[in-house]
């Protein structure tokens, strides 16, 4: 019982009550996170309904293959996180370390692929801002000035009404730009959560390698596991909403 009582804070009756309090607090925090991401999802829904054609056009400029791979990577990392918690429950100390390392590796892989995608968007001028262009991948003038001339946006107001666009068959450029604003805001906020998660997994890994977690006390592994799965769920919704629009 010493392992149980050593971690028991004096305000709790027993270890079970202490764990229940931690669990309840963690789910409360995750509920606030649902609302944080929910605001973005709600706004996204409105503009997707209004500017559907532009959102389809924007979605087609995303790498569906990379998005699919990244989803698989993140789902697998959720599995290894669940196995790390299982190892903590069954006193498999090497199992905790092994699964945490694998989870961190997969998390970094996700961010690496995401970073590559971001870089591609910069190269293709799909980042919202003064250089945003849907035609930059055509191999004519690729100098910075050339692109600016082509867009002819100097002195223009940031929003252009549909009548001002030169591309008549394509959806309005400003609306596609809005899609990419959503893309970067939503995946960016998600990536930020991934970075925080990987940092916390690193702290867990240090503790696990010192044998800090036992079947009696491994609350941090369970709680950060819950956080990691939540971040995974956010991506489960982001993937079809951003990459698979038709």
């Amino acid at each position: 019982m010493s392992a149980t009582t050593a971690h028991l804070a004096h305000q709790f009756d027993d270890a079970e009550q202490q764990f229940a309090a931690a669990e309840l607090g963690m789910w409360l925090f995750l509920s606030t996170e649902v609302l944080l991401f929910g605001g973005l999802f709600c706004t996204y829904s409105i503009y997707r309904l209004w500017y559907h054609a532009a959102f389809v056009a924007g979605s087609q400029r995303l790498e569906q293959v990379l998005g699919t791979i990244n989803t698989a990577v993140l789902l697998t990392s959720s599995l290894s996180m669940a196995l790390a918690v299982h190892a903590a429950q069954t006193d498999d100390r090497r199992g905790i370390v092994r699964n945490l390392v694998f989870t961190i590796f997969l998390g970094c892989m996700f961010l690496g692929i995401k970073g590559y995608e971001y870089r591609q968007k910069f190269v293709e001028d799909l980042v919202p801002g003064p250089n945003f262009s849907l035609t930059a991948d055509q191999p004519n003038d690729n100098s910075r000035e050339g692109r600016r001339d082509k867009n002819n946006r100097a002195g223009q107001p940031p929003y252009r009404a549909p009548s001002q666009t030169t591309l008549t068959t394509e959806p309005d450029v400003g609306r596609v730009e809005l899609f990419f604003s959503f893309y970067f805001a939503m995946t960016g906020l998600h990536a930020l959560h991934m970075i925080v998660g990987i940092g916390m997994l690193g702290v867990l890994l240090v503790g696990a390698s010192h044998g800090a977690f036992t079947p009696e006390y491994h609350t941090p592994v369970e709680m950060i596991g819950l956080y990691w799965h939540f971040v995974d769920i956010v991506w489960v919704f982001l993937f079809p909403l951003l990459y698979l629009i038709r």
Partner: protein, 92 residues
């Protein structure tokens, strides 16, 4: 709480199901089904989220108050999105 420890086999089975659902959502997205595309994509996303929440996050084996806490965020979000869409979809 600590009383329920799932077997490793359960986690692997859930992971395989998640993989199948991922493949399904990508395959369906290759065909133009109109409004159905969004409906199917969201249904599959909710199914995947449910699998993760129920098994990986152990909510299936949890106590009632915790389930209420877990559902609360979703409930408020559903209220917000419902009322917003009620406005947006009915504007003239």
């Amino acid at each position: 709480m600590h009383t329920n420890i799932l077997s490793k086999a359960t986690y692997y089975k859930v992971a395989v199901l998640l993989g199948i659902l991922l493949a399904a959502t990508v395959v369906v997205a290759q065909f133009d089904l109109g409004v159905l595309n969004t409906a199917i994509a969201l249904t599959i996303a909710f199914a995947k989220a449910a699998l993760i929440v129920l098994f990986f996050m152990h909510l299936r084996y949890s106590w009632p108050l915790l389930r209420l806490f877990a559902a609360s965020g979703l409930i408020w979000l559903a209220i917000m999105i419902t009322f917003v869409l009620a406005d947006v979809l009915t504007r003239k």
